[in-house]
């Protein structure tokens, strides 16, 4: 990536691509693929290609909060199509603490300069949750809390990308008992366009799709009621899963590595959360379309949904629920018995004994 800290280049994307040997034809091919991926009508492909050609370098300021860095690693590891990585090269990733060379005061200076230079135009990318408990002391950068940084830098951003389930909804740090008071970006910021790109980590192609759309059309793609791009989160894993026929036929693996599992049957009974999980894993898959968890024999854990870590065991099916536990059931029974006994006792005091025959 480029470590530019100066004002955006004057060169537009079309010129930059031409320099590297990718002409208009390639750009159009790319646009055709992207419009399809984004579920846009094919007629928009030439429009996208034109817009991309004319686009200026987009400033992206990336703040990492209470995260594991997995989202960043995934995006870097992705062997996305060549043009995708070029898009990444094209966007001006003006600030990213793990990737940039500078640190400390120099890094802070970089951030301030980037914000000042791109005021109102930069995309603010966030990964990691935002802890709010105890004044946000649980995640500090240079002694400054995430909350404080988010509030300041969201103000002059054009839009915010909440990358990964942590940034979108609080993620793993938010799991019960949530000791740090972790929340998602949308719980802190309002009045700014936010797009959530959940997943633990998110599918890399989803991020690049959102960026391409933004660079092409100057706005965020259509979002659902959880602010996720509809193109990628509009269906569930269940809807796209290649094992769906087995679900419909009632063929389920009952345990890992049983006959059904070896036959590749549906993993519903082994806890797959596919039916309630919105993401593109079943169609785009991972590692450049290699596979995804279900294909590897493990049920979907629903990692792109809010509170996925608090849904009970990953191996309890959707038909099941949080176990009440026999101990609690026993206590409830005892409470019931006590109450009923008290009622009976009260009633008994009203019913006299059978009168003895006195005569």
């Amino acid at each position: 990536m480029s470590d530019q800290t100066a004002a955006p280049d004057q060169e537009n994307l079309g010129a930059m691509l031409a320099r590297r040997g990718f002409g208009r034809r390639s750009l159009l091919k790319f646009a055709i693929v992207m419009t399809s991926s984004l579920a846009l009508p094919p007629s928009l492909a030439p429009v996208m290609a034109d817009n991309l050609a004319k686009a200026k370098r987009q400033s992206v300021i990336w703040l990492s909060f209470q995260e594991c860095t997995g989202c960043l690693e995934t995006l870097l590891r992705s062997s996305a199509p060549t043009i995708d990585s070029l898009i990444f090269d094209f966007i001006s990733l003006d600030y990213q603490e793990s990737l940039m060379a500078s640190a400390g005061a120099a890094a802070e200076h970089t951030l301030r300069q980037a914000v000042a230079a791109n005021k109102g135009e930069y995309l603010l990318a966030i990964d990691g949750s935002v802890p709010v408990k105890d004044g946000g002391v649980y995640s500090l950068t240079g002694g400054r809390s995430n909350v404080s940084m988010l509030e300041e830098f969201a103000g002059s951003a054009k839009a915010i990308l909440a990358i990964g389930t942590c940034a979108a909804y609080g993620g793993i740090p938010k799991a019960h008992p949530n000791p740090t008071g972790a929340v998602g970006v949308e719980d802190i910021i309002s009045g700014k366009p936010i797009v959530n790109i959940p997943g633990c980590p998110p599918v890399p192609e989803v991020l690049s799709g959102v960026l391409v759309y933004f660079v092409s059309f100057g706005k965020l793609p259509d979002l659902d009621d959880r602010k996720r791009p509809l193109a990628y989160f509009g269906t569930t894993i269940h809807d796209q899963c290649y094992r769906r026929p087995f679900y419909d036929q009632g063929k389920f693996a009952k345990s890992f590595d049983d006959e059904g599992a070896r036959q590749g049957w549906c993993l519903f009974e082994l806890g797959c959360k596919g039916p309630t999980t919105h993401n593109a894993c079943a169609s785009l898959k991972w590692n450049n379309g290699t596979s995804f968890p279900i294909e590897s024999g493990h049920g979907c854990i629903g990692c792109s949904e809010p509170d996925f870590w608090d849904q009970g065991s990953f191996y309890t099916s959707l038909a099941g629920s949080s176990a009440t536990g026999w101990r609690n059931a026993g206590i409830a029974a005892a409470v019931g018995l006590a109450g009923g006994a008290a009622a009976a006792l009260s009633a008994r005091s009203k019913t006299p004994t059978i009168p003895e025959d006195k005569s």
């Binding site: 009632g250 849904q311 099916s317 038909a319 009440t324 059931a329 206590i331 018995l337 006792l345 008994r348």
Partner: protein
């Protein structure tokens, strides 16, 4: 917390505990009342009385042939409803999963198509029974809020279950949450109204059979 997470989590725990506590409360309140010892010489020994109780639990399901002509329609609809519920709950794959989670027991399920047919018949019987309750003079006189509420609390799980298995009308997560909520509502009301017959039918028939076997009286 999402609606589904609430339904599968705290709501399910609360509903389960309320149902257990309520059932034990009601049964204890009944059985711990002052008892009168029966001194009259029994016609049958104790074990035969127990057998009489067990027999009555089973045989009261089918009215005597003398009564049959006058009660056939209502009783038949009741059978369709209960047998249908039994098929849905004990032969439907997702419910076997629930039982497995609670007890560790499991058995093969019937194909989804069979459950769909059973569900449709059960629903039809339920609607027919409501129509009957609303039009039959005896039932109109007897029926109260509990009757209609209990009907609704059975109707909702069946109908949301049908929608859920067809994955139609709304998203899976929403349908699942609604289905689970409807079951929880049933669980919460169960100990307090006529739905308690799930336990009382055994107690009542058994007690009558036991007491009447004592007298050699007809059951």
């Amino acid at each position: 917390m999402t609606l589904l997470a609430f339904a599968r989590g705290p709501a399910m725990q609360a509903a389960t505990l309320i149902m257990i506590a309520g059932m034990f409360w009601r049964l204890a309140g009944i059985l711990l009342l002052r008892r009168k010892t029966a001194h009259a010489a029994a016609r049958t020994p104790f074990l035969l009385r127990l057998a009489g109780g067990a027999k009555t639990i089973v045989t009261r399901t089918v009215p005597r042939k003398n009564f049959w002509p006058r009660v056939a329609s209502g009783v038949s609809l009741g059978w369709v409803l209960h047998i249908g519920l039994f098929v849905i709950l004990f032969a439907g794959a997702p419910h076997i999963l629930v039982i497995h989670q609670i007890t560790g027991l499991s058995w093969p399920n019937l194909p989804k198509g069979v459950i769909v047919i059973a569900s449709a018949l059960t629903l039809a019987a339920l609607v027919a029974l409501l129509a009957r309750r609303l039009t039959h003079p005896v039932l109109r006189l007897l029926s109260n809020t509990d009757d209609y509420l209990s009907w609704l609390l059975v109707f909702l799980p069946i109908s949301t279950g049908i929608l859920l298995s067809g994955e139609t009308v709304a998203g899976y997560g929403t349908l699942l949450a609604l289905h689970i909520f409807s079951v929880e509502a049933l669980m919460i009301w169960l100990p307090f109204g006529k739905l308690m017959h799930v336990a009382l039918v055994f107690a009542g028939r058994g007690m009558m059979g036991f007491n009447f076997a004592r007298k050699g009286a007809a059951t």
